[in-house]
Amino acid sequence: MQLANKKWTLEEFSQLRKEVLAAWPTGAQVDLDEALAYQKAIAPEKRFVNKLNEAVKNRVTLIQPRAGVPLIAEHIALLKHLETEGEADLLPTTIDSYTRLNRYSDAERGIKESQATGKAMLNGFPAVNHGVEGCRQVTSAVTAPVQIRHGTPDARLLCEISLAGGFTSFEGGGISYNIPYAKNVSIEHTLLTWQYVDRLVGLYEENGVSINREPFGPLTGTLVPPSISNAVAIIEALLAAEQGVRNITVGYGQLGNLLQDVAAIRALDKQTREYLERFGYKDCEVSTVLHQWMGGFPQDEAKAFGVICWGSAAAALSKATKVIVKSPHEAMGVPTKEANAAGLRATRQLISMLADQQLSDDPALEAEIQIILDETRCIVEKTLELGDGDIAVGTVRAFEAGVIDVPFAPSRFNAGKILPARDDQGAVRLLDVGKLPFDERLKAFHKDKIAQRARHEKREVSFQMVIDDIYAISKSRLVGRPRG
């Protein structure tokens, strides 16, 4: 199939569909009409879109954990714990890494070994292997809406099974679930697989079942400048909308400087709406999500609470629609349900205490928002230009050209030329802008900011700064200052 940002015909979709469903035996369990009927029977308050729309209206921030274990009963117990003891508003089902790579027989081995050893041998819930029925057991056992969270370049079968399985939201996108999560998969390929996913969601939508879609905002989670993740989120929103998706949550990973974090969420919300409008997707519902710090965490649990709470504050003060919550076990491993619930409760406390507060619209905040809007516009416009107006084609070429460039990404389809580092106030700037299509003013802005820090630290601008910044938060700092 030829990549273009154009809504697939039902024919194109149906042709591929057989192949997709045949990839693993559980695919045969999916019957679209039956699935639509099942989805329609789900209570309104258990639908992701309704909870999100209400939160947008009331300007409140919902809280959601990450969580997934290999076996169904344990997974249900985990989710129940998170909604009762963790006071979660929204629930996740995090998929294991084998499933993410379509290695369903390895996942099967993980299930078996988990059953045999009584230990979780997979880092998530293998939804494809558990099939439609297994998913329905999960989604019907809890009272909050449940979302599939993963990192799967080819999530077509996973999406088929999980929507039929009663999940009402599906995370990911052709860029955000490729570049940070794969090494050898071309962007072209994942844009196509995710057009399938979005078309499937569009089909549900056209049949009266609204499903939330959420591009994965934080990308590699490691010093990703806001304009890069915002640009990716906007592009994925446009791609999804073209295929008929109507409810979109755009995301951002907290960086730690409060002003920058609040500015990033505000810019993201505003600019996503603007671009959707511009390309004629006028009935799209947009919400935002802030992820608590996605990079390396401190090992100490009390310090981890510090990081968690600061992320909650950023979410509350930026009025993000929801916040994805970390646990005090983050640096150590997949959290126990108790640790996960503790992270949620700390977050709840902050979100509620800050519900009625917000940063005032002062010139410093306005300036920071403007910088992010300008940079993001440079990237998105250049991408459109490279694709001769087609954002899908443009995206492939933009990655080739380094016009979109994600730091520390494993993918060989990512240029990897930019180097981010913090400025003297801890905002993430660019030490090397690589091939980003920034104008001279923006380039000078970054250069000045980094130079200012270097002067303060009395050292040369160098890669060592980047390394120091990567370790900083796990060492109780934001800016990785030289030691001693």
């Binding site: 890494s97 090494k183 390396g296 076990h329």
Partner: protein
């Protein structure tokens, strides 16, 4: 100043955590080692091929995502088969699922044939020190 020792470095299995790998690559080179960095998503076979080809002194396996225990099973045996008998094998990162007592984890990986096992958050300096002890007798 190169110290003449060759390391094969990579992140095993379906694991894409790239940040630590890039930093270790940088740190080992700075410390004078010759590094063959295979990056992320490296199979056991790729580790072994690279070690045979380069006549490496050690294989350093990272695993962050939790499937380390499944991914590492049989690596020592395959090394033996490939003629890499006695090659130094390290593993480090978040090598099991969840927060588990390190002593038990260490034992399980020792039993799998790893010479040294490192827990979450091990600093490059610690690893370099261990390599110097084991490879250069320092």
């Amino acid at each position: 100043m190169q110290n003449g020792k060759k390391l094969v470095l990579g992140v095993i299995g379906a694991d894409v955590h790239a940040v630590g790998n890039q930093i270790l690559n940088h740190a080992f080179r700075e410390a004078g080692f010759d590094v063959i960095n295979l990056g992320v998503m490296v199979s056991q076979e790729e580790f072994i091929d690279a070690a045979v080809e380069s006549a490496a002194d050690a294989i350093l396996v990272s695993s962050l995502y939790g499937h380390g225990e499944l991914d590492c099973q049989g690596l020592r045996e395959k090394c033996d088969e490939a003629g890499l008998t006695g090659i130094l094998l390290y593993v480090g990162g978040n090598i099991v699922v969840g927060k588990q007592p390190f002593e038990e984890v260490e034992k399980r990986f020792h039993n799998m044939g790893f010479n040294r096992v490192f827990g979450p958050g091990t600093s490059p300096e610690t690893t370099i020190q261990a390599l110097r002890e084991d490879l250069l007798g320092q």
